[in-house]
C-alpha cells in the first residue's frame, strides 16, 4: 500500500508548496501595512490600545486639575518605585482608623503611606506628581488600582529623547499643558 500512498503524499506536499507560493505572491501585491514614520504618522484612532507612560486624568469641572485624591496607592503599588506623589497632610483628627491599623488585612496589605481610605470624603490636595519613566515597566498596576480613576496610559508613540531628563515627567505640569491646549477632558488622551 505504501507504494501507492507515498507518491500521493509527495504530490500533496508539492501542491502545498504551490499554495504557499500563492500566499506570498498575493501578499506581495497587497498594500503595505507599515507607515513611513518621519513623513507619515499613525492616525490617533489606531493608538487607543497603545500603552505609553502614564498620565493624569483631568477632573470634569477643571481639566487642569487632576482627579487624584492624593491617596498614594499608585506609588505604594509601583514595583519599580518610579512614582513620587506628594499630597498635603490631613489634620490628625480627620484620619479614621483603617484596617491596616487593626491588622485584619492579611490578604492585601494596605500601603503604609495611605492615611485615609480611598472612599474618603475629604480628598487630600495633590501637591506634586513625578514619574521617572526610565525605570517604569508599564505593568499598569497604578492605572488598574487608582481609586479615583485619575491615571491612564498616554498615547505618545513617538516619545524619544537624547538624555535621561527627557524621561522624567512632572505629570501635573503636563496635565496643565494639555488642558491649556484643550485636550485633556476625561476619556480621550492626547500625546
Amino acid at each position: 500500500m505504501a507504494i501507492l500512498t507515498a507518491p500521493i503524499q509527495a504530490l500533496a506536499a508539492v501542491w502545498s508548496m504551490v499554495v504557499g507560493l500563492r500566499v506570498t505572491v498575493t501578499n506581495f501585491f497587497r498594500p503595505q501595512e507599515t507607515i513611513h514614520y518621519p513623513r507619515q504618522e499613525v492616525p490617533p484612532s489606531h493608538l487607543d490600545s497603545f500603552r505609553g507612560h502614564i498620565e493624569l486624568v483631568g477632573a470634569d469641572e477643571d481639566p487642569a486639575k487632576a482627579r487624584c485624591i492624593g491617596c498614594g496607592l499608585c506609588a505604594e503599588l509601583c514595583p519599580s518605585f518610579c512614582l513620587k506623589v506628594v499630597a498635603e497632610e490631613l489634620p490628625v483628627d480627620s484620619a479614621v482608623c483603617y484596617p491596616s491599623q487593626a491588622g485584619t488585612d492579611l490578604l492585601m496589605p494596605t500601603p503604609k503611606f495611605r492615611a485615609a481610605p480611598p472612599s474618603q470624603t475629604q480628598p487630600r490636595k495633590l501637591l506634586s506628581y513625578h514619574l521617572v519613566y526610565h525605570t517604569c515597566s508599564l505593568c499598569g498596576l497604578c492605572v488598574q488600582n487608582c481609586p479615583a480613576g485619575s491615571l491612564r496610559f498616554s498615547h505618545d508613540v513617538y516619545l524619544a529623547g537624547a538624555s535621561r531628563g527627557r524621561f522624567e515627567f512632572d505629570l501635573m505640569e503636563r496635565l496643565r499643558g494639555q488642558a491649556a491646549r484643550g485636550g485633556a477632558k476625561g476619556g480621550k488622551a492626547h500625546a
Binding site: 509527495a10 504557499g20 507560493l21 497587497r30 503595505q32 507599515t34 513611513h36
Partner: protein, 329 residues
C-alpha cells in the same frame, strides 16, 4: 598602436577577453540588482516597503551596502589559517565568470565557442563546495566547520540528481553544447524541452536551489543554528564576495535552466537575448520568492528528499529517456 595590438591578438582570444570583462561587469551589476530585488521582495511579501530611504524607493541601497562592505576592516580570526581563510572567498568567486563564458545569451552572444559547455559549467560549479569547505576549515570556528560539513554533504548529494536530470536532456538532443541544446528547441512553450521533460526540469530546479545553498536549502549558513555557518567569521568584502558568488550562481543555474529547458534565446516578436534574460530573471525571481515562502528544511529531511526521491526519480527518468531515444532513433 592600439589597433595593431588588437589585430595581432588571435580573434578567439580577443573575444574571450572581452567576453570575460563584460561578464564580470554583468555579474557585478546583477549582484547589486538582485540584492535590491531580494530585499524588496522580502519586504513586500511581509507587507512592508523594504529598502526605501536611500535614493528613490531605495534604489541606491545596494550602492550604500557595497560601499559599507568595501569600507569595512578585513579581520582574520585568531588561530585561523590565513591563507585558506582568504583563499576561500576568492575561490568562491573565481569560477563564476568561467561558468558564464559558455552560456549562449543569444544567437551570437556568447564568450567561448565550445561543444562541451555543459560539462564546463557543471565542473566549475563544483568549486563552490570547495570554497565553502575551505572557508569552514580555515575559520577556526565550530559553526563554520559544521556549516562546511553540511555544505559538502549537501552538495555531494544534490550534484548527482542534477547531473542525471541534465543528462536526460543531453541524451535527447545528442549534444553537450549549450548553444545546440538551446537551438534544438522552438520559440513557443510547447516546443521547449520542459514540455517533454517536466520531471527532469523539476528535479533540476530543486537541485539547483540546493546547489546554490539558497533557502529553503541554506543549511550551510542556517543562521538560527550556526549563526552564519561558513560565513560567520568573514567581515567586509570577504562576506561580500561570498554573497556576490551566491547571486552569480543563482544566475548561472537560471541561465542553464533557460538554455536546457526553456528554449534558450528563442521566442517570438523580440530579439533572442531579451527572451533569454526574461526567462532567466523569471526563474531567479521564483527562487527569491521561494526563499521568502518556505521554512528551512531539517538536515535529515534534506538528505531524505535527495536520496529517497530525487535520485530514484532522476534515474528512472534517465532510463526512460534512453529507451525512448533508442526506440525513436
Amino acid at each position: 598602436m592600439n589597433g595593431s595590438l588588437l589585430t595581432s591578438v588571435a580573434p578567439e582570444l580577443l573575444r574571450l577577453g572581452i567576453g570575460l570583462l563584460a561578464l564580470v561587469g554583468f555579474i557585478a551589476a546583477n549582484g547589486m540588482l538582485l540584492l535590491y530585488v531580494e530585499r524588496k521582495v522580502a519586504g513586500h511579501v511581509q507587507r512592508r516597503p523594504g529598502p526605501f530611504e536611500v535614493g528613490p524607493h531605495g534604489l541606491l541601497q545596494a550602492f550604500a551596502d557595497a560601499g559599507k562592505l568595501v569600507g569595512k576592516q578585513l579581520a582574520t580570526p585568531a588561530g585561523a589559517d590565513g591563507l585558506l581563510f582568504w583563499a576561500a572567498p576568492l575561490m568562491a568567486f573565481m569560477p563564476v565568470p568561467l561558468m558564464f563564458i559558455a552560456i549562449p545569451f543569444g544567437e551570437n552572444l556568447f564568450g567561448l565557442e565550445t561543444n562541451l559547455g555543459l560539462v564546463l559549467i557543471l565542473s566549475f560549479a563544483g568549486f563552490n563546495v570547495l570554497a565553502l569547505c575551505l572557508a569552514g576549515w580555515g575559520s577556526n570556528n565550530k559553526w563554520s566547520l559544521l556549516g562546511a560539513a553540511r555544505a559538502v554533504s549537501q552538495a555531494v548529494a544534490y550534484e548527482i540528481p542534477l547531473l542525471l536530470s541534465v543528462l536526460a536532456v543531453a541524451l535527447m538532443c545528442g549534444s553537450l553544447d549549450l548553444r545546440q541544446l538551446a537551438s534544438s528547441q522552438g520559440g513557443w512553450p510547447w516546443q521547449w524541452n520542459v514540455a517533454v521533460q517536466p520531471l527532469a526540469f523539476f528535479i533540476y530546479f530543486v537541485c539547483a536551489v540546493a546547489e546554490t545553498n539558497r533557502a529553503p536549502f541554506d543549511l550551510a549558513e542556517a543562521e538560527s543554528e550556526l549563526t552564519a555557518g561558513v560565513h560567520t567569521e568573514y567581515s567586509g568584502m570577504g562576506n561580500g564576495i561570498f554573497f556576490l558568488a551566491e547571486y552569480a550562481n543563482m544566475i548561472v543555474v537560471g541561465c542553464v535552466a533557460t538554455a536546457l529547458f526553456l528554449g534558450g534565446a528563442q521566442g517570438p516578436f523580440a530579439p533572442g537575448p531579451w527572451w533569454f534574460l526574461a526567462k532567466m530573471y523569471l526563474l531567479v525571481t521564483l527562487v527569491i520568492f521561494m526563499r521568502w515562502t518556505y521554512p528551512r528544511v531539517r538536515f535529515d529531511q534534506l538528505l531524505n528528499l535527495n536520496w529517497r526521491w530525487l535520485m530514484p526519480l532522476a534515474l528512472v527518468n534517465l532510463l526512460a529517456t534512453a529507451f525512448a531515444v533508442k526506440l525513436a532513433g
